[in-house]
Amino acid sequence: MARIGVFTCWCGENIARTVDVQHVAEALAAEPGVVCSLAFKYMCSEPGQSLLSRKIAEERLDGLVVASCSPHMHLRTFRKAAETAGLNPYLVEMANIREQCSWVHHDRKLATDKAIELVRMSVAKVRHNQPLNPIRVPIVRRALVIGGGVAGIQAALDIADAGYRVVLVEREPSIGGKMAGLSETFPTLDCSQCILTPRMVDVAQHPHITLHTYSEVESVEGYLGSFRVTVRKKARYVDIDRCTGCGECWTSCPSGKNASEFDFGLGRRKAIYVPFPQAVPARPVIDAKACLKLTRNRCGVCLKKCQAGAINFEDQDQMIEEEVGAIVVATGYELYDIKARDAGSSVSGYGEYGYGRYADVIDSLQFERLASASGPTGGKIERPSDGREPKTVVFVSCVGSRDRAKGIPYCSKICCMVNAKHTMLYRHKVHDGEAHVFYMDVRAGGKNYDEFVRRAIEQDGARYHRGRVSEILEQDGKLLVRGIDTLAAVPLTIAADMVVLANAMVPARGVQQLAQKLNVGYDEHGFLSESHPKLRPVETNAAGVFVCGACQGPKDIPESVAQASAAAGKVLVMFARDHLTREPEIACIDQRSCSGCFTCLQACPYQAISRQEITDRAGQVLRYAAQVNPGLCMGCGTCVAVCRSKSADLAGFSEQQVYGMVESLA
């Protein structure tokens, strides 16, 4: 027979004002199995908790119901108190008679009656509670970082510097990400490559970091503490261990008219190329679509020129298995492609701006390359159509961002600062040039940010117009930018030589597929979801998977770096423990009655259910039954609901517990 204790809390006046707590305590005393029922002023206070401990010992309680506030408030508190007193914490339940009773009803009689029923439900549940023990999982103290931009580099270095091994996977042939292509950074105008490239070299030389460039995550299995990751190393056709990076191959390659990805199409590269001079690894890759040998079986000059014998036209994609305990996702962003048509929608972005039709309408990352000393023009501002120096440049904010009609309601956060920076860079290089900015609002929140924008306007003479650009037309070699200055209420037409569009930031392509492999949620725009917007900003709902940088939402370099260090910190917190524990409120399957239909296997959102052979003593397979992997199960209970033979159950919310609660209402 159960020995249940019921403790009804006054919560000062909060509960006692509308619920007759004494009456509740008395009513519950009569419930079968309840051996002690008391009311107390503040159950969560120190005296309340010691009352609990004392009664557990005195009455030899084996079940506890605290009738007070929401379990989200204090369940943990009371379970801890019980544990200290020697009672298994999972034998404690709560009845929520504050948020869901005393605070929402005024009639004392009705509220008291409801409170009694609520407590009865919890008593009915606790009768079926079983002692549970937290699940221990071992940790592989090795981390995977996906994405080698500034955020991924920071996270990898932080974890590696703490003495743990890191596997860094980057999709492109070099790490560095978007930041490697920037000219100068706001609000200090320090050269982007000067601050980033040493960090890139650190990654390459770090004894604890294994770098896989030109590689992608193919699949992820396992769980917190022990993930098995398959990485696809794409065929590079160059053995980077043998290659010395001498450059003979790419200087002699005859195929030179390929648009450079790194220069966003403004520059050209060979078919065998290093994306940029400071690339890490500083080893070339062959573009299989452009290489004459690979496309038409001609040429092969690089093979002949290579002294190191590093060229291998037979190269194939390779699969590499990596075992890690934690994963940091830092896949970053790209710019909203205003040329592309959305499938199913007739809106193709900004046809009225002529991007893709007019050579001199470019986006802000392309402008970065024009302004960069290592860019296709060597840092001279030249317009793409004819190489002339543009004397009037218009910068357009919010192209895509904050435009509900285009499906991007959010602010991309960096563009206001990027525009201010661009006007400065432009004016520093073209002294007699005019820089115009069309903006909706200037959002320059950040240390020294607004000062920076004011400097662009006051010192460098950028002309800011509050209003949107309606359309861009081409006439006599000029771009007619038609817009409005709403402060002056004047429609404006500016005859410009070049237009720079600040396109919205969107998550890097393919991140949704990656998120599905990792069981990480994402929002309607594809940004990965953090566990809690305030208190768990780098955790995700998949235990052991962390996010940082622009894959989680638009952000600038300082924020990305800060978040990357935070994610690394969280990984290190994990690695500092001996072992990991997980909540034991998970599913289990009674294999004796399991019919092997595997509906649960299909339904499980965590791939926590597997097929297990049931064998006789001789090892002969009799049948197959489902099995729950306690490391993966998150305790949602979907398998319980779909099980046809009622063999699945969920600890903490078992069939007996839930049905018991409902039956108590009869």
Partner: protein, 279 residues
């Protein structure tokens, strides 16, 4: 192929040259037009300006007639009509509106009739078929394709092509051997229904369009709208009186040029009834 046909008032009025052109060209391409019996005016600008309910009821009556007469598809060569029909169609998805309208127009209603503009009907004929029928390739023709307002706007209603940079007429005319020019005014407004009421506006807007076409090297303008044709063709004399430097610019319906390419002559297409004639 047989298709329901809603001419609209303009095509039975002063823009009957457009109807002639559409009928001739489509017939040559093997499309039979089956005119909707007892069709009524779509209400045009007037209804949506003065009485919102009427703006739904008038096109709804036509959609109901189409349904009753068994037309799954309905061609409305006038973009004003096709937009009004599409707008009503969209509203009829709401059950409440459907019931109410059904009572007003005295016929059962659903949102099943597919309303097509002229370009969409031409697109139904495959490129191969058109290419096959070409008798006189449009060599040397450099049309400025003019879409105006309502072929592509409002995009949420008409859902046709890119509202800011439409290319469907260009694609069709390239098949016919023409070299459409790239210009700025493809989706600008010509003044539309203000022809009579506010002539000043029309003359100014249409002047800009004609001048832009010249500036970008066009030797004609192609339209798929009766109102655009009136403003650019019939009013061109008045525009030239204000700006004598403006050279004459012939304005054709899309079916005029396609029709010529597949071997029809100007009389068959009604081109001889245009105001501006060149050569």
């Amino acid at each position: 192929m047989k298709i329901g046909y809603y001419p609209g008032c303009a095509l039975h009025g002063s823009s009957n040259d457009y109807e002639q052109s559409v009928r001739a060209c489509l017939q040559q391409l093997g499309i039979q037009l089956d005119e909707l019996d007892e069709w009524i005016c779509c209400g045009a600008t007037a209804a949506h300006m003065l009485n919102a309910r009427l703006a739904t009821a008038l096109p709804a009556r036509n959609l109901a007639l189409a349904r009753q007469q068994g037309h799954e598809q309905l061609l409305a060569p006038c973009p004003m009509c096709s937009m009004q029909l599409l707008k009503a169609n969209a509203e009829l998805h709401d059950r409440r509106v459907r019931c109410e309208m059904s009572e007003i127009v005295e016929l059962p209603l659903d949102a099943s009739v597919q309303v097509l503009n002229l370009i969409e009907v031409l697109q139904q004929v495959s490129c191969e078929e058109i290419r096959h029928k070409i008798a006189v390739p449009l060599e040397g023709w450099q049309p400025a394709c003019y879409y105006g307002c309502l072929l592509t706007r409002p995009p949420s209603i008409v859902r046709f092509d890119d509202p800011e940079h439409p290319q469907s007429m260009e694609t069709l005319l390239r098949i016919c051997g023409a070299e459409p020019v790239s210009w700025n005014s493809a989706t600008r407004c010509c003044g539309a229904g203000m022809t009579v009421a506010n002539e000043e506006t029309v003359l100014e807007l249409s002047h800009q369009i004609l001048a832009d076409a010249h500036a970008h090297g066009a030797n004609c303008i192609v339209v798929a709208c009766p109102m655009c044709h009136v403003n650019l063709d019939m009013k061109q004399g008045a525009i030239q009186r204000r700006d004598e430097s403006l050279p004459a610019m012939p304005v054709y319906y899309l079916t005029d040029l396609v029709g010529r390419a597949i071997g029809l002559d100007d009389r068959q297409l009604g081109i001889d009834r245009h105001f501006v004639t060149v050569g």
